[in-house]
């Protein structure tokens, strides 16, 4: 996999998360496509060994941005690096079908990331949508200010509705399209709540080795048995494809 060195132009702390901006000419064709990124230093450092997958948070034709949470050494170094190495756009993203009526966007924790660019693209396509964001606590919910009009829920009740991202919603079944990204148990709950009539698309968060389909490390179980790769066939899947 070939990586490209880019300078971090802007770094913003948003509660528990960090937002990085860098110049990039090859943006996502579909919202939900991802970037493999790491702090610059290869091949001298070799450690952390693997790059990390991040959804494009936003892209305006010149600047790409990534939203992430520091969870280990890889993200800790990324958080400090003046220069990063990236390769993108990777994977399959959300498909926008304008004829389906109103859309619901549901993000959980750091899974809110691809919903920013998705919302922008839905606006461009003239698709009205509602945004629902769920977080652990008020600190991680700080990023919600970047999503105008979003309905917020926190598990500890310190911000917005006390409960999960689904708690403020009466029903998802009236939405023509449901888009979601977050931890797997949340996505399973969204899939159930979306029912069978909407186009429900889920962006999974999996650990990846390579990001280009080679290692088969990032698989998800599919209905009918077996596994498919979230880096090539995903990370966005039609809900009915997934076995959970």
């Amino acid at each position: 996999m070939k990586f490209y060195k880019v300078k971090v132009e802007e770094r913003e702390e948003l509660g528990s998360y960090t937002l990085l901006r860098y110049r990039w000419s090859d943006g996502p064709v579909e919202p939900g496509q991802f970037v493999m990124a790491r702090a610059a230093g290869y091949p001298e450092t070799l450690d952390p060994f693997l790059a990390r997958p991040f959804s494009f948070y936003d892209y305006d034709g010149e600047m790409a941005s990534l939203l992430f949470e520091v969870r280990g050494r890889g993200t800790a170094l990324l958080d400090l690096a003046p220069t990063i190495e990236v390769t993108a756009p990777l994977g399959k993203g959300f498909r926008i079908e304008p004829g389906l009526g109103r859309a619901a966007l549901l993000g959980g924790g750091i899974g809110v990331a691809p919903l920013k660019i998705l919302g922008r693209r839905l606006d461009a396509a003239g698709v009205p949508h509602d945004v629902f964001l769920g977080f652990a606590d008020a600190k991680s919910a700080v990023v919600a200010r970047e999503f105008q009009g979003a309905e917020v829920a926190t598990m500890d009740g310190s911000e917005g509705t006390h409960g999960t991202v689904l708690d403020p919603i009466d029903t998802l079944e009236d939405y023509g399209a449901v888009y979601s990204c977050g931890p797997n148990p949340m996505l399973a709950a969204v899939k159930l709540a979306a029912g069978e009539n909407s186009l429900c698309q889920l962006s999974v968060e999996e650990r990846m080795g390579c990001g280009n389909g080679s290692c088969n490390g990032c698989v998800v179980p599919v209905r009918g048995g077996g596994y498919i790769r979230s880096c090539i066939e995903g990370p966005v899947f039609r809900a009915e494809v997934l076995a959970w």
Partner: protein
């Protein structure tokens, strides 16, 4: 973009089992997908797709990969569509260089019938036996758990495919004895080594994260030692594998006795062309050809010795 020009005046070609490889690099089985082929044109001297088994395998449930210091542990479980679908789609791997096929079975008979199936396919230039998989007839011990089972499976494959080279891919444990056994049973070359048995633990959740094989730069010194030891006791060529991440690594493996070198996990984190490029620069600076490197350490006393005789 890197301009993929051939450096003039540097001879990268090597010969392996009668096959001319235009570079000594081969992708390690299971580390190069069809989707990534566009990135590697001109890098490799041979193609080696992911291991095929007689019937489709779903593979292991996730999590399948975990990062470790300078490496990763994987437990994929040989996910593949089975040999028939594999062969149907094989043409995608035709990049104008010889195609090697990695095979694995649950039994000696399955290995042999896979070899038989491939014997008449003219697209296939060589067969690599993935001997790290468990032998269900021997209580799940790997085929390369000992020389007797290595000899049995290699001999059965040899009988099934007479006119294509067979490479036996060995794990590090008992590698010298297993190498001798594979050679005696008719292997034309030995791939040394496969991933090392490894475990990652999630201390916070108090559970096993991934139990599988360790690859990446972390295992390079172990693999180099195995290549050095094996190439000293067999006549057949050795293909080095294990943690190759730079052009200097390629040179080290060849100096230690490898005729060709596999690049695996490193291709996830680097453009393999950069590895070839570094190797080309190394050769240019040393005014050597690739094939002159093989085994050049032999007869040279090690400068440093550890706690044991070398």
């Amino acid at each position: 973009m890197v301009v993929r020009e051939q450096k003039t005046g540097v001879d990268l070609a090597v010969e392996l089992c009668g096959l001319m490889l235009r570079t000594p690099l081969i992708p390690a089985s299971g580390t190069l997908s069809r989707e990534a082929l566009g990135e590697v044109e001109g890098v490799y001297g041979a193609m080696l797709p992911k291991t095929a088994t007689p019937v489709a395998r779903a593979g292991n449930p996730p999590p399948r990969v975990a990062e470790t210091p300078a490496g990763m542990v994987n437990s994929i479980g040989l996910q593949n569509p089975g040999v028939e679908v594999f062969l149907r789609d094989l043409d995608a791997f035709d990049l104008g260089v010889p195609i090697f096929i990695s095979v694995a079975g649950d039994t000696v008979a399955e290995f042999a019938s896979l070899c038989e199936r491939l014997a008449d396919d003219e697209r296939i230039c060589a067969v690599e036996l993935n001997l790290s998989c468990p032998n269900v007839e021997c209580g799940g011990l790997a085929f390369c758990a000992g020389p007797a089972s290595v000899e049995e499976v290699v001999a059965a494959c040899r009988a099934a495919v007479s006119d294509k080279p067979i490479l036996a891919k060995l794990t590090n444990g008992g590698v010298v004895e297993n190498a001798r056994a594979a050679e005696a049973a008719g292997a034309d070359a030995l791939t040394v080594i496969n991933t090392l048995p490894a475990l990652t633990v999630d201390a916070r959740m108090r559970k096993v994260l991934v139990k599988g094989g360790l690859s990446g730069p972390a295992i390079k010194p172990v693999a180099l030692r195995a290549v050095y030891d094996v190439s000293g006791v067999v006549r057949v060529p050795v293909v080095g594998s294990g943690g190759v991440t730079s052009g200097t690594d390629v040179a080290e493996f060849m100096l230690a006795g490898a005729t060709a070198v596999q690049v695996g996990t490193a291709s996830f984190v680097r453009d393999p062309y950069e590895i070839l490029d570094e190797f080309t620069v190394y050769l240019k600076e040393s005014t050597l050809s690739a094939k002159e490197l093989t085994g050049a350490l032999r007869g040279v006393r090690p400068v440093l010795t550890g706690g044991e005789d070398i």
